[in-house]
Subunit: 451 residues, 4 copies
Amino acid sequence: MTRFTDGRVPYSGMAEVFSPERRWQRYLDVEAALAMAEAELGVIPEEAGPAIAAAARVERIDLVRVEQGTTESSHPLMPLIVELSRVVGEPHGGWVHWGATTQNITQTADVLGLREAHRILLDQLADVLDAAGTLADRGLGMVMAGRTHGQQAVPITFGFKTAAWIDQLLRHLQRLEELHDRLLVAMMGGAAGTFASLGIDGPAVQAAVARRLGLGSMPVPARSIADQFAEFVCVLAMLASSTGAIGAEIFTLMTVEFGEVAEPAPPGVIGSSTMPHKQNPQLCQDMVTISAQIRALVPLALEGMAHGHEADGARTEMTDAAVTGACLLAADQLARLQVVLAGLELDPDRMRSNLMLTGGLITSEAVMLALGKTIGRQVAHEVVRDAAQTARFTGRDFADVLAEDPRVHAHLDAAAIVKLVDPHAHTGLSDQIAHDAAERARKAAVEARRR
Amino acid sequence: MTRFTDGRVPYSGMAEVFSPERRWQRYLDVEAALAMAEAELGVIPEEAGPAIAAAARVERIDLVRVEQGTTESSHPLMPLIVELSRVVGEPHGGWVHWGATTQNITQTADVLGLREAHRILLDQLADVLDAAGTLADRGLGMVMAGRTHGQQAVPITFGFKTAAWIDQLLRHLQRLEELHDRLLVAMMGGAAGTFASLGIDGPAVQAAVARRLGLGSMPVPARSIADQFAEFVCVLAMLASSTGAIGAEIFTLMTVEFGEVAEPAPPGVIGSSTMPHKQNPQLCQDMVTISAQIRALVPLALEGMAHGHEADGARTEMTDAAVTGACLLAADQLARLQVVLAGLELDPDRMRSNLMLTGGLITSEAVMLALGKTIGRQVAHEVVRDAAQTARFTGRDFADVLAEDPRVHAHLDAAAIVKLVDPHAHTGLSDQIAHDAAERARKAAVEARRR
Amino acid sequence: MTRFTDGRVPYSGMAEVFSPERRWQRYLDVEAALAMAEAELGVIPEEAGPAIAAAARVERIDLVRVEQGTTESSHPLMPLIVELSRVVGEPHGGWVHWGATTQNITQTADVLGLREAHRILLDQLADVLDAAGTLADRGLGMVMAGRTHGQQAVPITFGFKTAAWIDQLLRHLQRLEELHDRLLVAMMGGAAGTFASLGIDGPAVQAAVARRLGLGSMPVPARSIADQFAEFVCVLAMLASSTGAIGAEIFTLMTVEFGEVAEPAPPGVIGSSTMPHKQNPQLCQDMVTISAQIRALVPLALEGMAHGHEADGARTEMTDAAVTGACLLAADQLARLQVVLAGLELDPDRMRSNLMLTGGLITSEAVMLALGKTIGRQVAHEVVRDAAQTARFTGRDFADVLAEDPRVHAHLDAAAIVKLVDPHAHTGLSDQIAHDAAERARKAAVEARRR
Amino acid sequence: MTRFTDGRVPYSGMAEVFSPERRWQRYLDVEAALAMAEAELGVIPEEAGPAIAAAARVERIDLVRVEQGTTESSHPLMPLIVELSRVVGEPHGGWVHWGATTQNITQTADVLGLREAHRILLDQLADVLDAAGTLADRGLGMVMAGRTHGQQAVPITFGFKTAAWIDQLLRHLQRLEELHDRLLVAMMGGAAGTFASLGIDGPAVQAAVARRLGLGSMPVPARSIADQFAEFVCVLAMLASSTGAIGAEIFTLMTVEFGEVAEPAPPGVIGSSTMPHKQNPQLCQDMVTISAQIRALVPLALEGMAHGHEADGARTEMTDAAVTGACLLAADQLARLQVVLAGLELDPDRMRSNLMLTGGLITSEAVMLALGKTIGRQVAHEVVRDAAQTARFTGRDFADVLAEDPRVHAHLDAAAIVKLVDPHAHTGLSDQIAHDAAERARKAAVEARRR
């Protein structure tokens, strides 16, 4: 997942989380926690616990031998167990992995990885929210065209636009927090999830393992349960959709024709090998690409939920591919979003001149409402629509056309019209909404970091 | 979305929720609530509110004229506004739709529909949970093969299998409840979401409309915000994945070769036009089909989030298609799940005989653990694996092969072996887990209905 | 799939193809063809064929009784068979459906529907290609900014832009033609596809049915084979992607800020209920929406291929939902594409003024190449990049900045520079490519209609 | 995309195709071909061509410097161009990359990679077809239950089942061949695809580059055209669906309860860390997983088609991720399919005993047809259905129940019934179909390798 733009954004640390070495260590961490928990509860000899825990360090393991064993046995964990037992040695080596099935170790370990990933994403999102809050503040009073269906509609401020982004991001943060306790749970139910191997001690062992690892405990520790992972991918995909949309929006506003904002571009960045003048919205394009990539993982995650019987490795692999991929991609995407929001260049002059492109038509609603108070909304809609059409087709100023229409000047004098067609008078509560959103963003950022 | 099996399940009422007439009435309900709120707050004349509200009944509207107006104007709401104004008549007709944009009405109205849909789905899910709880109880002590990767692994009870279903369904219920307040919100921010038309009264009007309609109020009433709808579709897709997986599981267990359960089949149902003996798992197949159909709506819902600028009707339409489709499909699916779980035929004799198909191999873990206590887990794994291979390839009984191996009989006598290879002794905490899940299911059903 | 814009486009006839009545008639058509084929080959009595064929008219069938039978039997075909037998009466009624299984009839009948759908889509595509050809001609010599990564890059003509659309559409047409023979095949292999019921006559019966219906014949008439349907959906999704992208492009070019083209808008069409001036790109938005909807059917169609064993109705239903949906949506989309391309308003003045927005920077490549011939491509890239940066940040004219740079004026005089920065001189082979594409489009349209 | 089962299958060589070093070399290959073509056509000095071609070897390039340049410039190609120019040195270094834009090089180079990938996949598919042909032959006369909707339906042979697989694979091969000429094309149209930089020589240069590289030439060399890549992903996804379905089928048939086939398992492979007896269908599970992974790339590839304007790097990246991923996954999947089909263990005894599980019901169609000849199909269906129900609920033999029914023994004597209920008499043309499919498979394999 290397991108040629990687040099432009800070590194999140996510790739390390999923490195082979870190994954092996997490497997060992779970085997250690299991041994300690079983020793504590008298399931295995008391000294076996610390002996195993002490050996469960990746630097004590011969990973080459483990990898070779994997190739020979076509088993994802057994060679590590054998190697760990060897390192522990007599008399405790035989108690390694006691009562557990492979997936107990691998899934609980993967969940540990997801805890790290979740933490990274929360931190990144906090940074993004801070940047968005500042951006919303910068956009206060910066009047621009609000556009619906691609067409200029009514005036807004740039702060308001940012508020709509913040509002979505805050809900995604809330979702990430809500899923936390469902996602980060240990599973120690054994071969089919019934605690058959540990018997009556099973729930206590699982609880102790969970406690040692800082996780929750699954009420039904069935290996066929994967909805919590699918949920994580879905929430990351929703976050990605918003982020991708923000990227696409800036991409558009950054075209020469709009020219209202620009992605920050450090010196040295080259746009094109053949067009020396080009400055491309590379980070925004990345956000768009990554959005599609993350969203494409959702069907995979949902298919991964459909285990047959008590477990199906084919589904576990789907889930694993989807979750790992989504975390890596989300971190890359948020890194870009943060850089772009924090450094976004704004051009209020251009925003203002674009606002005038329609010769005042952008205030048609205001005129209609003013007129509607006396002649009724319905008739006013028709009157203003006629004037708008005339202005559009003749290229004349909207105010002038209005002033000539007897249906208008019977109720509004020239001064009133001039005032009505001033876009700056019609941004409604844009700035109040922006201000509130900025406050919420900063507050949520603080809380997200503290979590 | 008619299916030839519709006659076999109770009708949920979901299709009506999305009928054209009900949709028109919801549009009118929102126009009425808007007028009442504006009258109450002095935005429009006091009498205009009740006058508009009284007229806003679909039976007073000439829908033929509205439909014709839609064709001519290519506008989804304007003809209704015109017609409503006509019915209200002078002097209040002109205050219809005051300060609102089309999407304020249509989206808030659609949200009212989703509230009904959400209610129906919660009720259905409550019924499903009751049926699942009862099924888990019926499955207590019903020993069967637990299977992982399609292979017999260790024994479980049917109750345990049901518990794993319940556990997922409970989380889906939780998710549906968590999203409630995010989903069911009124949006009255006007053309770009800035309250430009209502000004300082805007938030109060939106709050009053929301209160009258029993909805929450959007903090940023931007038309470009659709994450709440995408979330609903995602959660329904997760629910659909679990439901589809249950359907697929019963489909498998119902094959002649497994023969452990059967979908209830009322007399009169025909399996095949050319194979008179056939009884097909029609409802389970429906669950599988619908799962795929709902999951396929997720990418659409996620794309629907990516509005450009302050609104994009193309995205609104994607969202609408995804959400409406998901609700209709989910209701059809849950109706089938409830019927199947409530009437599922269980064959404990067949479960037991299948359990013996491997000649005792299914207890290999138990033997290994017993042996492991003296010779170590690692060595025990090898010893038992050897015995299992021999038993498999010679077709001999696992217990006999074990009894002949000196590495075994040095530690376990024949009686101990016989006891170990009895599957009924190795279901672990299957029934305790099943019992707890059934309790949780029933409790959640009560709460879901009460919500 | 009704849209409020339906009044703006011609009706394709696609909805009728999938109406219940037409579907029942197709079922009857296949039963008739089967009976005639079997009678011809001596599988059933000679007179039974014509007797059944004569009765197999939907107007002779009591559809109410059939629908009621469906509800009671939960079987999609058996009630029709019973009713058809009743209409045929003694002595031939018993030979109805001889040797066939339900899916033989329903699938082969559905394929007949797809043949109609394929024909409609080919005709629509031919109309689209004609419109696109004309549009390419209109765009010859119409110089505008070529844009890459959203930024102005080098000049093109509007004709060239259209050529890139045509080129894709031609390949989609080719794909639709290539899949024709794979898709339109009769399946008469009986219960498991082995011709067990018809025995040695089986292939001949299937071939005769196919011939009578104007279809090909499946070499392995297995009910589990559905790749041909998935392929159809995939190709329609590719077509939809191109069409959606064209819609999105026009949507962008139609914004006030670009203003280069406009979707045709008939009088009477209303843009907004609150902004009287608005003219929205409704048909283009539809194209975007429908693109997402069709693409969302691909995963469903692909899942529909994964039959278990010799048939799985759950998969057949997925396939059916995907294929039917894709045909209906594709017809709606192509209808809009044709109207938009045929009536697209072009504004060459605005294209030209946009081209000047960068003060000549759009010709930087041309300057670099001219300069490169003497000082080398690499150095020229740097020189021109410096000048572009200066021009951008100072707001000065590109030509002026260039003229002042000694690295430039050593090799190019002022007149040469002025000539180089004229965008009209740098459209390359835009028009030749456009002309060729228009020719190919028209030729393909003729052939597609003739097919 | 490492899997723990990799040791069990031959390595396809696909990963190398997409290694960074090979990719850099392909970039250089295209720059070389471009220089040679331009020299040949007099666009650049004659000696510049060979000079550049000679330098364009990855071993002559300082890749560390290139990677560092990428980080600094955030450009995917420029640092390589600079480095190549440096290696070429004066006087020809300045002619490197003459008239080309980055995407001309990267895309054409990627297409060269896809040519290798396409070749590998064809070879793998040929091996798969050979294995499938042999398997179909092995399955001749091997009678087993045909199953529809998961229920035993009518007898088939294992050869027939294989034939249905072959038939799909052959069509996928055909699709791969049909897309060959659309996919493998050079694109040398310059910055916007208009040949602006090369002018009148453009088409000849592109044709010469294409010829040197063994590719076709794009008629409209627009950078926004990506349907050919999406098509490749779609076809690979269809192939993956079939392959995944085969994997799922073998997974099912390999359960203890079916027991009809087994995935080959080399000694040393370990099934479970806690259940020593387990033998898991690992390769089949991989096929299922990979199927989901490849299918998940289709939406990405389709989104990648939707370029805005004349090119959008966000789309190019989507396309690249989808195509590369699909090739890597497809190779992994086909390697597993080949191993599984070539070594599949078949258990005809178990097939036969499963066939008897329904006590003869599997022949109900045969009885109905025999009876139908005298009493009519409709009545016969009812008679046989009654008998089947009785047999099922009483557990009695189907033949015995039939023999007691006066509606049956009036027309069929005991001997006739016994003969009718013999499954081996009712496999229809299973073997003929299997034989033909095997022949077609072998023939296609030869042709595919020769292509």
